[in-house]
């Protein structure tokens, strides 16, 4: 099997490293943005766009494409970088992040950026929007799948659970959600701000098929997604244990870099660590 091929996995890891460099560079040049949550979700995004999803960067409106919704919209830099690497637009454009007149808004905007499926940024909306797409797929008897990346801070939001009920009530087995469980939110550790555990039990109780994986392991991300594809009659939640700021030593596990751009010295060190 291709996916167990070491070379293939290291190719994905190489892309992830490039995406992390782009992310740091974009945020550094923009002077603001959210590095921590972008870096924690990068491997999931890379696995999706470079292996899992059926999509065509030349035809962003292809009706049968799989859909991805970045519910944690503040991880936009990682999404933009992945979309650029995949060919939706030029990587040169990444430097325009957050600049006046740019197609790359601070948070994803579906009317401006090719490949962005839903405008997000206000937390807790993405899963419900994904459900809408999943209902449309079922109505149209199309086989496309919907992938949603949620942040763990979003588990505080009531609407997340409204949407969780809807997905299972309507048996939306075409929905696969990934929870970027980096255990930190803006004000501190998730368990200190608002206790979330036992999260897996909660999702199970809401009628979801639940898996827990290492969200930085490409093989695990791909295998779990393959398993999700085989589950009939219920949606799947893949709780991805991740590290906020993954890949940059001084950002790892740090709340400090939730929503702050690196300074020049930090930028240079980060790029060095990421092999840039």
């Amino acid at each position: 099997m291709e996916i167990y091929d070491g070379e293939f996995i290291s190719e994905l890891e190489g892309i992830a490293k490039k995406v992390r460099r782009d992310t740091i560079q974009m945020i550094y040049e923009a002077g603001s943005g959210h590095p921590g949550g972008s870096l924690s979700g990068t491997d999931i995004l890379v696995a999706l766009y470079f292996h899992i999803m059926k999509h065509d960067p030349k035809r962003p409106d292809w009706p049968d494409r799989d859909r991805f919704v970045l519910s944690k919209g503040h991880a936009a830099p990682a999404l933009y970088s992945v979309l650029a690497e995949a060919g939706y637009f030029s990587t040169d454009e990444l430097r325009s992040l957050r600049k006046l007149g740019s197609r790359l808004q601070g948070h994803p905007c579906m009317t401006k950026t090719p490949g962005v499926e839903m405008s997000t940024g206000s937390l807790g909306h993405g899963l419900a929007a994904g459900n809408g797409m999943a209902l449309a797929a079922k109505l149209d008897r199309r086989l496309y799948r919907i992938y949603v990346l949620c942040g763990d801070g979003e588990m505080d939001v009531g609407e997340t659970w409204e949407a969780a009920m809807l997905s299972s009530h309507y048996k939306l087995d075409n929905v696969t959600a990934y929870l970027d469980r980096n255990k930190l939110q803006l004000d501190g550790p998730t368990e200190k701000i608002m206790s979330l555990e036992p999260l897996a039990d909660k999702w199970k109780a809401f009628g979801w098929h639940v898996m827990e994986i290492n969200g930085h392991n490409m093989k695990e991300i791909i295998q779990a997604t393959n398993e999700a594809r085989g589950i009939k009659g219920k949606p799947t939640m893949i709780i991805c244990h991740t590290i906020k700021g993954k890949g940059v030593s001084f950002m790892e596990g740090s709340v400090h870099f939730h929503g702050k751009a690196p300074n020049k010295q930090e930028y240079e060190q980060a790029m060095k660590e990421l092999g840039g």
Partner: protein, 316 residues
């Protein structure tokens, strides 16, 4: 003079029209939040159960689900009571429907004080204000049942977000099947040269009655049905101000940032005339019978007549 209006339900017309549209528009999907028997989306659900989704008491969820369906090419109508369909899910409407300009039609019933006995918790008097400040949002208040049907058909053909406000109670029927309707075209229901009475929704009938009353005193009042609050038919409004020299607005909504305020903004920048807004003052409502509430909060014919006299006094 009391006009004896035929009273009809906008909600029934809404449900009936959805069923009609659903026959040709296979892309029509309807959502409701556990109020389908009241909003009458249940009529659609009965005929097209596969294209109806009840989301339970979860309006925020409903609006984002609607956005996802619209993003996948569906024409989506989402209904609930106006109090829950605007304020409770304002963020979802703003972020996921108005900002990306998605094809979602929010048709909200039980708006305003005519909800009656349920009281202030259910009587939203600020929904027009909330919706009209959203970029990309069209805001329509159908005057009666026949117009509700026309509005629903018209917005089904209009791409983009729309908010439609209808009431719980039966309302006076002032139009018929033959009356033409176009979004953004405010019909002049009665010509007049002394003062213009601009009404929206249920208050249009009060304006017509007020015009009859004013005629007895030799006042020739023009009456305009301003069904589309946004985008506004500024031409008709400004022309009325220019030709009659005074304007009264009347709405079953707070006078803060409702239709009257929108008209005032147009006039202040285009043609300044004495003006008076009839509407609910800056207070919450309360339980009571519809007519009692309309009287107590100044939403009756007398209030419009009085406002017209006030404007006339201030005219040079």
């Amino acid at each position: 003079m009391v006009i004896h209006w035929k009273m009809e339900s906008q909600r029934k017309q809404y449900g009936k029209t959805l069923v009609e549209i659903g026959k040709e528009r296979k892309d029509l999907v309807v959502l409701d939040a556990d109020l389908s028997s009241s909003t009458r989306t249940a009529d659609f659900a009965e005929v097209y159960p596969e294209r109806f989704f009840n989301v339970g008491i979860a309006e925020q969820n409903m609006m984002d689900t609607a956005a996802g369906l619209a993003a996948s090419g569906k024409l989506v109508f989402a209904s609930t009571f106006a109090v829950f369909g605007t304020g409770r899910c304002y963020d979802q409407i703003r972020q996921s429907i108005a900002y990306p300009k998605l094809n979602v039609k929010i048709v909200a019933s039980h708006a305003g004080i005519t909800v009656g006995g349920d009281g202030a918790s259910h009587q939203i008097i600020e929904d027009i204000a909330l919706m009209r400040v959203l970029p990309n949002m069209t805001v329509i208040v159908p005057v009666d049942a026949p117009e509700t049907g026309k509005v629903v058909k018209a917005i089904a053909k209009l791409h983009g977000p729309v908010y439609v406000r209808i009431g719980r109670s039966d309302v006076p029927t002032i139009t018929d099947e033959g009356t033409s309707f176009e979004i953004n075209q405010a019909p002049v229901l009665r010509e007049g040269k002394d003062v213009t009475l601009i009404g929206t929704g249920i208050m249009v009938s009060r304006c017509l009655e007020a015009a009859e009353e004013l005629a007895k005193h030799g006042v020739d009042a023009r009456v305009v049905n301003l069904h589309t609050i946004k985008p506004m038919d500024e031409k008709t409004i400004v022309r009325a101000a220019r030709e009659t020299g005074g304007v009264v607005t009347a709405e079953e909504h707070s006078v803060m940032m409702g239709m009257g305020s929108a008209v005032a903004m147009v006039l202040v920048e285009n043609f300044h005339v004495p003006m008076k807004r009839v509407g609910i003052p800056d207070v919450f409502g309360e339980s009571g019978a519809c007519d009692e509430l309309m009287d107590k909060y100044g939403l009756n014919v007398d209030s419009v007549v009085e406002a017209a006299h006030d404007v006339l006094r201030r005219k040079k």
